[in-house]
Amino acid sequence: MATHPGYARHWKVRPYMRAASGRVGTGRRPLLIHTLVSTGGRFDPMLAATLAPATRRLYEAARTMCSVAELSAHCGLSLGVTRVLVSDLLKTNELILHDDRPTDVRPSNDVALLERLRAGLRKLT
């Protein structure tokens, strides 16, 4: 608990803790269900040992890059819970987000992305 100068601790003051997670989303890039995340090859077993069980499962599963939805399924956590925990790990840089698209263009308007999709899908037809 942070003690602010001028505010002496008093026995009547209820100590409080701020939860690690704030709101979902890292600000710059939204954490969508198909957003790719990974440990970026910097998996730390010592850190993993200190994490809460659900967070630890996610952290371990993210050793291979995958989407938030895949993490949710692999770890047996609902998408909502997965998103909050993954967003915590992103804030502390334990996980990194993979997205090389411009942030200010919607995917459905991103001509470069659509061209890549077209080229790739044509090969499957």
């Binding site: 198909h34 989407s67 993979h98 997205d99 995917p107 659509l114 080229a119 790739g120 899908l121």
Partner: protein, 193 residues
């Protein structure tokens, strides 16, 4: 590395999971997506309480498009009362494919309504040819769905990978035509063999 998403919507039993499974390089994954406290399908959390929850499952698959792009396909949870979840599912999608079964067209009405009124993504309708045969002319299907002229209508058998790839390509082409208007984008009713 980046990822993209296409949503596959439609009524119950219309072939969403079949379509995802036909093209996905992993078996379709089922995830419990959201829980809600307000639902009519009830799982009692605790016998002593009135609080109830429902889990909604959703299937998804993935396709590696090139060495730095992964496409995820998400099937929507069937019932229309889960629309608030559709918003979350559809956010950031490249586009959506609404599957319809001409033997049970009504089951896909809610999905058509949703994309027509409540979503911001490019979408099109695909008639699933269950046995590879057309039961109705596409013009009749268009009329029955009251589908606006600018929404492409295609027909294909989603059990085959190539067909699903063509249908997804049609979705991307439609998005492309809206994002970069040009001459090469004027098909409305196409049928894939």
């Amino acid at each position: 590395m980046t990822s993209a998403k296409i949503v596959i919507a439609g009524g119950f039993g219309v072939g969403k999971t079949t379509a995802v499974g036909a093209i996905s390089e992993i078996p379709p994954i089922r995830t419990e997506s959201w829980m809600t406290a307000a639902a009519t399908q009830i799982d009692k959390l605790d016998p002593g309480t009135e609080k109830t929850t429902t889990t909604v499952a959703m299937d998804f698959g993935r396709v590696t498009v090139d060495d730095s792009l992964v496409l995820y396909l998400f099937g929507t949870p069937g019932q229309p009362r889960f629309w608030p979840m559709w918003d979350d599912l559809v956010r950031g999608a490249v586009g959506a494919l609404v599957l319809v079964d001409t033997r049970n067209l009504e089951s896909s009405f809610p999905a058509v309504n949703y994309f027509e009124n409540d979503a911001q993504v490019p979408w099109l309708v695909c008639v699933n040819l269950f046995d590879g045969v057309t039961l109705h002319r596409l013009a009749d299907v268009r009329a029955a769905l009251s589908l606006p002229a600018h929404i492409p209508l295609i027909a294909t058998d989603v059990r085959h990978r190539r067909n699903v790839a063509q249908a997804l390509l049609a979705v991307v082409d439609h998005a492309y035509a809206k994002a970069a208007p040009g001459p090469d984008s004027s098909y409305q009713e196409v049928q894939f063999a």
